[in-house]
Amino acid sequence: MNYGIEAIEYYLPEGETSSAELAHKFGFDQSFIEGKVGVKKLFLAAPEEFSSDLATKAVEKLFAKDPTLRETVDAVVVCTQTPDYPLPHTSAIVHQKLKLPSRVACFDVSLGCSGWVYGLSILQGFLRENQLSRGLLITSETYSKMIDPRDRDTKVLFSDAAAVTLVGRNGVLKSGRFTFGTNGNLHEHLIYRAKTGSASQEPRFLEMNGRGIFEFVGTEIPKDVQACLEANETHLDAINFIVFHQASSFMLETVARRMRLKADDKRFVKVIDRFGNTVSSSIPIALRSLWDTISSPNTKILVSGFGVGLSWASTILESSLERNQ
Protein backbone atom coordinates (compact mmCIF):
# COMPACT_ATOMS: atom_id res chain seq x y z
CA MET A 1 0.00 0.00 0.00
CA ASN A 2 1.41 3.35 -1.02
CA TYR A 3 0.69 5.84 1.72
CA GLY A 4 0.75 9.57 1.16
CA ILE A 5 -0.30 13.00 2.37
CA GLU A 6 -4.07 13.44 2.42
CA ALA A 7 -4.31 16.91 3.93
CA ILE A 8 -2.35 19.56 5.81
CA GLU A 9 -3.47 22.21 8.29
CA TYR A 10 -1.56 24.60 10.50
CA TYR A 11 -2.09 26.88 13.45
CA LEU A 12 -0.36 30.14 14.27
CA PRO A 13 -0.66 31.60 17.76
CA GLU A 14 -2.40 34.95 18.16
CA GLY A 15 0.67 36.77 19.47
CA GLU A 16 2.55 38.61 16.73
CA THR A 17 5.46 40.94 16.28
CA SER A 18 6.29 42.89 13.12
CA SER A 19 9.53 43.59 11.32
CA ALA A 20 9.13 47.25 12.29
CA GLU A 21 8.89 46.33 15.98
CA LEU A 22 11.86 43.97 15.72
CA ALA A 23 13.94 46.57 13.88
CA HIS A 24 13.20 49.18 16.53
CA LYS A 25 13.84 46.83 19.44
CA PHE A 26 17.07 45.26 18.21
CA GLY A 27 18.65 48.07 16.22
CA PHE A 28 18.31 46.60 12.72
CA ASP A 29 17.18 48.35 9.58
CA GLN A 30 13.67 47.17 8.79
CA SER A 31 14.82 46.63 5.20
CA PHE A 32 17.47 44.20 6.46
CA ILE A 33 14.89 42.14 8.39
CA GLU A 34 12.43 42.08 5.51
CA GLY A 35 14.96 41.82 2.69
CA LYS A 36 17.73 39.62 4.02
CA VAL A 37 16.13 37.68 6.86
CA GLY A 38 12.92 37.73 4.83
CA VAL A 39 10.59 38.21 7.78
CA LYS A 40 7.65 40.61 7.91
CA LYS A 41 6.00 39.17 11.00
CA LEU A 42 6.60 36.48 13.59
CA PHE A 43 4.09 34.57 15.68
CA LEU A 44 4.56 34.11 19.41
CA ALA A 45 2.88 31.67 21.74
CA ALA A 46 1.37 33.14 24.90
CA PRO A 47 3.18 32.44 28.21
CA GLU A 48 0.72 29.66 29.07
CA GLU A 49 0.50 28.30 25.54
CA PHE A 50 2.67 25.26 24.86
CA SER A 51 3.48 22.93 21.99
CA SER A 52 0.56 20.62 22.80
CA ASP A 53 -1.83 23.60 22.65
CA LEU A 54 -0.63 24.71 19.22
CA ALA A 55 -0.69 21.10 18.02
CA THR A 56 -4.23 20.53 19.28
CA LYS A 57 -5.51 23.67 17.58
CA ALA A 58 -3.94 22.64 14.27
CA VAL A 59 -5.54 19.20 14.49
CA GLU A 60 -8.93 20.65 15.46
CA LYS A 61 -8.86 22.58 12.16
CA LEU A 62 -8.32 19.29 10.38
CA PHE A 63 -11.05 17.54 12.36
CA ALA A 64 -13.47 20.39 11.63
CA LYS A 65 -13.23 19.49 7.94
CA ASP A 66 -13.60 15.77 8.56
CA PRO A 67 -15.08 14.94 12.01
CA THR A 68 -14.76 11.19 11.36
CA LEU A 69 -10.99 11.49 11.72
CA ARG A 70 -11.22 11.70 15.50
CA GLU A 71 -12.47 8.11 15.57
CA THR A 72 -10.48 6.72 12.65
CA VAL A 73 -6.94 7.98 13.19
CA ASP A 74 -4.58 5.17 14.20
CA ALA A 75 -1.39 7.00 15.14
CA VAL A 76 -0.15 10.40 16.27
CA VAL A 77 3.48 11.41 15.88
CA VAL A 78 4.54 14.72 17.38
CA CYS A 79 7.82 16.16 16.19
CA THR A 80 8.99 18.75 18.70
CA GLN A 81 12.06 19.90 20.59
CA THR A 82 10.01 22.20 22.80
CA PRO A 83 7.85 19.57 24.50
CA ASP A 84 5.47 20.69 27.24
CA TYR A 85 7.53 18.59 29.65
CA PRO A 86 10.73 16.50 29.37
CA LEU A 87 8.33 13.66 30.04
CA PRO A 88 5.68 12.54 29.23
CA HIS A 89 5.80 12.74 25.47
CA THR A 90 3.78 15.61 24.07
CA SER A 91 1.79 13.29 21.80
CA ALA A 92 0.20 11.76 24.92
CA ILE A 93 -0.95 15.22 26.02
CA VAL A 94 -2.28 15.91 22.54
CA HIS A 95 -4.06 12.55 22.68
CA GLN A 96 -5.84 13.66 25.83
CA LYS A 97 -6.72 17.12 24.54
CA LEU A 98 -8.14 15.70 21.31
CA LYS A 99 -10.10 12.99 23.18
CA LEU A 100 -8.71 10.28 20.91
CA PRO A 101 -9.52 6.57 21.39
CA SER A 102 -7.14 4.55 23.58
CA ARG A 103 -6.13 2.29 20.67
CA VAL A 104 -4.24 5.21 19.04
CA ALA A 105 -0.44 4.86 19.02
CA CYS A 106 1.32 8.05 20.12
CA PHE A 107 5.01 8.87 20.15
CA ASP A 108 7.31 11.84 19.77
CA VAL A 109 10.25 12.47 17.49
CA SER A 110 12.98 14.88 18.59
CA LEU A 111 14.18 16.73 15.53
CA GLY A 112 14.21 20.34 14.42
CA CYS A 113 13.99 21.74 10.93
CA SER A 114 14.55 18.38 9.22
CA GLY A 115 11.81 16.84 11.38
CA TRP A 116 8.87 16.97 9.00
CA VAL A 117 10.68 15.03 6.27
CA TYR A 118 11.98 12.46 8.76
CA GLY A 119 8.54 12.31 10.37
CA LEU A 120 6.81 11.66 7.07
CA SER A 121 9.07 8.70 6.40
CA ILE A 122 8.66 7.40 9.96
CA LEU A 123 4.87 7.65 9.98
CA GLN A 124 4.43 6.14 6.53
CA GLY A 125 6.67 3.24 7.54
CA PHE A 126 4.82 2.77 10.84
CA LEU A 127 1.42 2.70 9.13
CA ARG A 128 2.63 0.35 6.42
CA GLU A 129 4.39 -2.05 8.79
CA ASN A 130 1.34 -2.31 11.03
CA GLN A 131 -1.27 -2.20 8.27
CA LEU A 132 -2.91 0.87 9.78
CA SER A 133 -5.06 3.33 7.85
CA ARG A 134 -4.27 6.85 8.90
CA GLY A 135 -1.95 8.83 11.10
CA LEU A 136 -1.22 12.41 12.07
CA LEU A 137 2.25 13.89 11.76
CA ILE A 138 2.26 16.94 13.99
CA THR A 139 5.10 19.43 14.05
CA SER A 140 4.90 21.94 16.87
CA GLU A 141 7.44 24.32 18.33
CA THR A 142 7.50 27.24 20.73
CA TYR A 143 11.07 28.43 20.18
CA SER A 144 10.18 31.86 21.55
CA LYS A 145 10.30 30.32 25.03
CA MET A 146 13.91 29.17 24.51
CA ILE A 147 15.35 32.37 23.07
CA ASP A 148 17.36 34.80 25.13
CA PRO A 149 15.28 38.00 24.98
CA ARG A 150 18.51 39.91 24.24
CA ASP A 151 19.64 37.66 21.38
CA ARG A 152 18.91 39.80 18.33
CA ASP A 153 20.04 37.15 15.82
CA THR A 154 17.51 34.51 16.85
CA LYS A 155 14.78 36.93 18.00
CA VAL A 156 14.22 38.17 14.44
CA LEU A 157 14.12 34.69 12.92
CA PHE A 158 12.04 32.12 14.74
CA SER A 159 8.27 31.93 14.88
CA ASP A 160 5.99 29.67 16.91
CA ALA A 161 3.61 27.41 15.00
CA ALA A 162 2.16 23.93 14.61
CA ALA A 163 1.20 21.96 11.54
CA VAL A 164 -0.56 18.65 11.11
CA THR A 165 -0.13 16.38 8.13
CA LEU A 166 -2.71 13.68 7.62
CA VAL A 167 -1.03 10.58 6.20
CA GLY A 168 -3.10 7.71 4.86
CA ARG A 169 -3.94 5.37 2.04
CA ASN A 170 -5.69 8.06 0.00
CA GLY A 171 -2.74 10.37 -0.24
CA VAL A 172 -2.83 13.28 -2.64
CA LEU A 173 0.94 13.69 -2.40
CA LYS A 174 3.02 10.53 -2.42
CA SER A 175 6.66 10.49 -1.50
CA GLY A 176 9.48 8.93 -3.45
CA ARG A 177 12.76 7.80 -1.99
CA PHE A 178 14.19 9.73 0.92
CA THR A 179 17.75 10.83 1.58
CA PHE A 180 18.92 11.53 5.13
CA GLY A 181 22.05 12.72 6.83
CA THR A 182 23.61 13.90 10.07
CA ASN A 183 26.81 15.67 11.02
CA GLY A 184 26.96 15.24 14.77
CA ASN A 185 30.29 17.06 14.91
CA LEU A 186 28.32 20.24 14.34
CA HIS A 187 25.68 19.67 17.03
CA GLU A 188 26.83 22.74 18.98
CA HIS A 189 25.90 25.04 16.10
CA LEU A 190 22.30 25.07 17.28
CA ILE A 191 21.91 24.13 20.89
CA TYR A 192 19.81 24.91 23.95
CA ARG A 193 22.05 25.20 27.00
CA ALA A 194 23.37 27.44 29.69
CA LYS A 195 25.86 30.08 28.57
CA THR A 196 28.62 28.25 30.41
CA GLY A 197 28.22 25.28 28.08
CA SER A 198 27.07 23.01 30.89
CA ALA A 199 24.17 20.71 30.13
CA SER A 200 22.84 20.94 33.68
CA GLN A 201 22.86 24.62 34.57
CA GLU A 202 20.05 27.15 34.24
CA PRO A 203 19.05 29.39 32.70
CA ARG A 204 19.35 27.84 29.30
CA PHE A 205 18.92 29.66 26.00
CA LEU A 206 19.02 28.80 22.35
CA GLU A 207 22.52 29.34 20.93
CA MET A 208 23.01 29.63 17.20
CA ASN A 209 26.31 29.72 15.33
CA GLY A 210 24.99 31.53 12.29
CA ARG A 211 28.12 31.17 10.19
CA GLY A 212 28.48 27.50 11.03
CA ILE A 213 24.90 26.70 10.05
CA PHE A 214 25.15 28.83 6.96
CA GLU A 215 28.25 26.98 5.77
CA PHE A 216 26.65 23.63 6.51
CA VAL A 217 23.50 24.49 4.56
CA GLY A 218 25.40 26.09 1.68
CA THR A 219 27.65 23.09 1.20
CA GLU A 220 25.58 20.09 2.31
CA ILE A 221 22.08 20.80 1.04
CA PRO A 222 22.87 21.26 -2.66
CA LYS A 223 24.71 17.91 -2.51
CA ASP A 224 21.81 16.20 -0.75
CA VAL A 225 19.33 17.62 -3.24
CA GLN A 226 21.39 16.14 -6.04
CA ALA A 227 21.55 12.81 -4.22
CA CYS A 228 17.78 12.87 -3.74
CA LEU A 229 17.17 13.59 -7.41
CA GLU A 230 19.42 10.69 -8.36
CA ALA A 231 17.78 8.36 -5.84
CA ASN A 232 14.44 9.16 -7.48
CA GLU A 233 15.88 8.83 -10.98
CA THR A 234 14.88 12.32 -11.95
CA HIS A 235 16.50 15.70 -12.46
CA LEU A 236 15.90 19.28 -11.39
CA ASP A 237 14.27 20.28 -14.68
CA ALA A 238 11.49 17.77 -14.00
CA ILE A 239 10.65 19.33 -10.64
CA ASN A 240 7.70 21.74 -10.54
CA PHE A 241 8.23 23.17 -7.05
CA ILE A 242 11.13 23.29 -4.65
CA VAL A 243 10.05 23.58 -1.02
CA PHE A 244 12.95 23.94 1.36
CA HIS A 245 12.84 24.53 5.07
CA GLN A 246 12.17 28.26 5.33
CA ALA A 247 15.32 29.06 7.29
CA SER A 248 15.71 32.66 6.11
CA SER A 249 15.39 34.41 2.82
CA PHE A 250 19.14 34.81 2.65
CA MET A 251 19.75 31.12 3.31
CA LEU A 252 17.22 30.07 0.67
CA GLU A 253 18.77 32.37 -1.90
CA THR A 254 22.23 31.04 -1.09
CA VAL A 255 21.15 27.44 -1.59
CA ALA A 256 19.40 28.40 -4.83
CA ARG A 257 22.51 30.16 -6.09
CA ARG A 258 24.72 27.21 -5.22
CA MET A 259 22.27 24.91 -7.01
CA ARG A 260 22.76 27.17 -10.04
CA LEU A 261 19.10 28.16 -10.03
CA LYS A 262 18.22 31.57 -11.39
CA ALA A 263 17.30 34.18 -8.80
CA ASP A 264 13.81 34.54 -10.28
CA ASP A 265 13.10 30.80 -10.63
CA LYS A 266 9.39 30.65 -9.79
CA ARG A 267 9.63 27.02 -8.70
CA PHE A 268 11.52 28.04 -5.59
CA VAL A 269 8.86 28.48 -2.92
CA LYS A 270 9.39 31.20 -0.36
CA VAL A 271 6.79 31.94 2.31
CA ILE A 272 9.05 32.97 5.18
CA ASP A 273 7.82 36.56 4.88
CA ARG A 274 4.34 35.47 6.02
CA PHE A 275 5.28 33.04 8.78
CA GLY A 276 8.94 33.43 9.86
CA ASN A 277 11.13 30.40 10.48
CA THR A 278 8.63 27.96 12.01
CA VAL A 279 11.23 25.17 12.36
CA SER A 280 9.74 21.74 11.55
CA SER A 281 6.43 23.30 10.49
CA SER A 282 7.89 25.45 7.73
CA ILE A 283 7.65 22.81 4.98
CA PRO A 284 4.06 21.68 5.71
CA ILE A 285 2.96 25.31 6.08
CA ALA A 286 4.54 26.13 2.72
CA LEU A 287 2.86 23.08 1.14
CA ARG A 288 -0.51 24.03 2.65
CA SER A 289 -0.16 27.58 1.38
CA LEU A 290 0.25 26.25 -2.14
CA TRP A 291 -2.08 23.30 -1.80
CA ASP A 292 -4.41 24.01 -4.72
CA THR A 293 -1.47 24.41 -7.05
CA ILE A 294 0.79 21.66 -5.86
CA SER A 295 -1.93 19.03 -5.59
CA SER A 296 -2.73 19.32 -9.27
CA PRO A 297 -2.11 16.00 -11.01
CA ASN A 298 1.44 15.05 -11.92
CA THR A 299 3.10 17.81 -9.94
CA LYS A 300 6.53 16.97 -8.56
CA ILE A 301 7.74 18.78 -5.46
CA LEU A 302 11.23 18.52 -4.05
CA VAL A 303 11.23 19.01 -0.28
CA SER A 304 14.28 19.34 1.93
CA GLY A 305 14.58 20.01 5.65
CA PHE A 306 17.82 20.86 7.44
CA GLY A 307 18.87 22.14 10.83
CA VAL A 308 19.41 20.98 14.41
CA GLY A 309 21.85 18.10 14.75
CA LEU A 310 23.00 19.15 12.28
CA SER A 311 20.74 16.96 10.21
CA TRP A 312 18.99 16.92 6.86
CA ALA A 313 16.43 14.97 4.89
CA SER A 314 14.94 15.29 1.44
CA THR A 315 12.38 13.57 -0.73
CA ILE A 316 10.23 14.16 -3.77
CA LEU A 317 6.46 14.38 -3.47
CA GLU A 318 4.30 13.64 -6.45
CA SER A 319 0.63 14.46 -6.68
CA SER A 320 -1.90 11.86 -7.68
CA LEU A 321 -5.29 12.33 -9.33
CA GLU A 322 -7.41 12.25 -6.17
CA ARG A 323 -8.22 15.53 -4.43
CA ASN A 324 -9.17 15.52 -0.74
CA GLN A 325 -9.05 19.17 0.21
Partner: protein, 82 residues
Protein backbone atom coordinates in the same frame (compact mmCIF):
# COMPACT_ATOMS: atom_id res chain seq x y z
CA UNK B 1 49.43 35.17 -8.09
CA UNK B 2 48.08 38.07 -5.99
CA UNK B 3 46.52 39.61 -9.08
CA UNK B 4 44.80 36.34 -9.94
CA UNK B 5 43.45 36.01 -6.39
CA UNK B 6 42.23 39.61 -6.49
CA UNK B 7 40.29 38.89 -9.71
CA UNK B 8 38.66 35.85 -8.15
CA UNK B 9 37.78 37.78 -5.00
CA UNK B 10 36.29 40.52 -7.15
CA UNK B 11 34.16 37.95 -8.96
CA UNK B 12 32.85 36.64 -5.64
CA UNK B 13 32.15 40.18 -4.45
CA UNK B 14 30.07 40.79 -7.57
CA UNK B 15 28.13 37.58 -6.94
CA UNK B 16 27.22 38.29 -3.34
CA UNK B 17 26.98 42.07 -3.58
CA UNK B 18 25.64 42.93 -7.06
CA UNK B 19 25.26 46.57 -5.97
CA UNK B 20 29.03 46.98 -5.82
CA UNK B 21 30.38 48.57 -8.96
CA UNK B 22 33.88 49.49 -9.98
CA UNK B 23 37.18 47.76 -9.44
CA UNK B 24 38.09 46.05 -6.21
CA UNK B 25 41.26 47.59 -4.81
CA UNK B 26 43.73 45.98 -2.36
CA UNK B 27 43.26 48.81 0.12
CA UNK B 28 39.48 48.39 0.24
CA UNK B 29 37.61 47.05 3.23
CA UNK B 30 34.95 44.49 2.38
CA UNK B 31 32.49 45.87 4.89
CA UNK B 32 33.12 49.59 4.82
CA UNK B 33 33.99 50.10 1.15
CA UNK B 34 32.26 47.18 -0.57
CA UNK B 35 29.19 47.28 1.67
CA UNK B 36 28.97 43.64 2.75
CA UNK B 37 26.54 43.32 5.66
CA UNK B 38 26.76 40.58 8.27
CA UNK B 39 24.93 38.06 6.07
CA UNK B 40 26.81 39.01 2.91
CA UNK B 41 30.03 38.39 4.83
CA UNK B 42 28.98 34.78 5.53
CA UNK B 43 28.08 34.28 1.90
CA UNK B 44 31.30 35.87 0.69
CA UNK B 45 33.51 33.69 2.85
CA UNK B 46 31.60 30.53 1.97
CA UNK B 47 32.20 31.22 -1.72
CA UNK B 48 35.81 32.17 -1.00
CA UNK B 49 36.45 28.93 0.89
CA UNK B 50 34.86 26.95 -1.95
CA UNK B 51 36.79 28.77 -4.66
CA UNK B 52 40.20 28.48 -3.03
CA UNK B 53 39.59 25.19 -1.20
CA UNK B 54 40.57 26.70 2.14
CA UNK B 55 38.96 26.70 5.58
CA UNK B 56 38.98 29.90 7.62
CA UNK B 57 38.49 29.23 11.34
CA UNK B 58 36.32 31.61 13.37
CA UNK B 59 39.43 32.72 15.27
CA UNK B 60 40.84 34.27 12.08
CA UNK B 61 37.86 36.55 11.60
CA UNK B 62 39.53 39.69 12.87
CA UNK B 63 39.11 43.12 11.30
CA UNK B 64 42.35 42.40 9.47
CA UNK B 65 40.88 39.83 7.14
CA UNK B 66 38.30 42.25 5.77
CA UNK B 67 41.00 44.36 4.11
CA UNK B 68 41.41 42.97 0.60
CA UNK B 69 45.23 43.12 0.65
CA UNK B 70 45.35 41.13 3.88
CA UNK B 71 42.80 38.68 2.57
CA UNK B 72 44.86 38.03 -0.55
CA UNK B 73 47.88 37.33 1.63
CA UNK B 74 45.79 35.04 3.83
CA UNK B 75 44.55 33.08 0.81
CA UNK B 76 48.09 32.72 -0.54
CA UNK B 77 49.31 31.24 2.72
CA UNK B 78 46.29 29.17 3.75
CA UNK B 79 46.63 25.39 3.42
CA UNK B 80 44.36 23.82 0.83
CA UNK B 81 41.82 21.33 2.17
CA UNK B 82 40.08 18.60 0.22
Amino acid sequence: MAEEILKKIEKIVNEVQPDFSGDLKPEMNLRKDVGLDSLDVMSFFLELETEFKIKIPDSDFTENIFVVRNLIEYVEKAPRVS
